[in-house]
């Protein structure tokens, strides 16, 4: 009926793609390891938002569960990497 919401969804998708590209360049270039982990952290949040955007665009509820899983596993992954930088090992005895 109205074209305003599809336009906004496409605009936001383009924004997130650009943001993921920025994070990817930083991930490949980043001088130190903490730069790369920061870029990875940004990348997973942007990917989760992209999935949510697809969910709005297609009007399907299943994308919510995918986004929740990406949020969960992204947090675990980047925290484990950051912890590794901090201590040299992930699980301490």
């Amino acid at each position: 009926m109205n074209a305003i919401l599809p336009f906004a969804v496409n605009f936001a998708l383009a924004c997130f793609a650009l943001a993921m590209l920025c994070a990817l360049i930083r991930l490949l270039r980043g001088p130190a390891a903490q730069d790369r982990i920061l870029a990875l952290d940004t990348l997973y949040i942007n990917g989760m938002l992209t999935i949510l955007m697809l969910g709005i665009g297609f009007g399907a509820a299943i994308y919510f569960d995918i986004a929740l899983l990406i949020a969960l596993f992204g947090f675990v992954g980047s925290t484990a990497l950051a912890k590794f930088l901090l201590r040299g090992e992930v699980i301490e005895p």
Binding site: L5, P6, F16, L68, A82
Partner: protein, 103 residues
């Protein structure tokens, strides 16, 4: 039922929120490229992580409420989770950077 079928009372604020969230996220990630030291860069993605994600999740809540014709609030779960966990990673990275610069 796709995005074009959403009634106008939900589509208008949702579109506004989506545009705001997209712009905030892209500015935050641009900061990863433009700022020149790690200590400045660590502040940039917080923009997309807090207000950007909040805008998008609020818009998603509005749209799914309008499509299902009943209040759907389970996006609050992701919002809470992101709000609690994103700072944890940032804090650990900050402390790791301080530790590595001292060595």
């Amino acid at each position: 039922m796709t995005a074009a079928d959403v009634p106008l009372w939900a589509a208008l604020p949702a579109a506004l929120l989506l545009v705001c969230g997209g712009l905030l996220t892209v500015v935050g990630s641009l900061g990863l490229l433009r700022l020149d030291s790690f200590y400045a860069r660590i502040h940039a993605p917080t923009m997309g992580g807090t207000l950007g994600a909040g805008c998008v999740l609020l818009a998603s809540m509005l749209v799914s409420t309008a499509l299902a014709q009943r209040p759907v609030v389970h996006e609050l779960l992701i919002t809470l989770f992101i709000l609690i966990t994103a700072p944890v990673t940032t804090m650990l990275l900050m402390r790791a950077a301080i530790l590595r610069s001292q060595e």
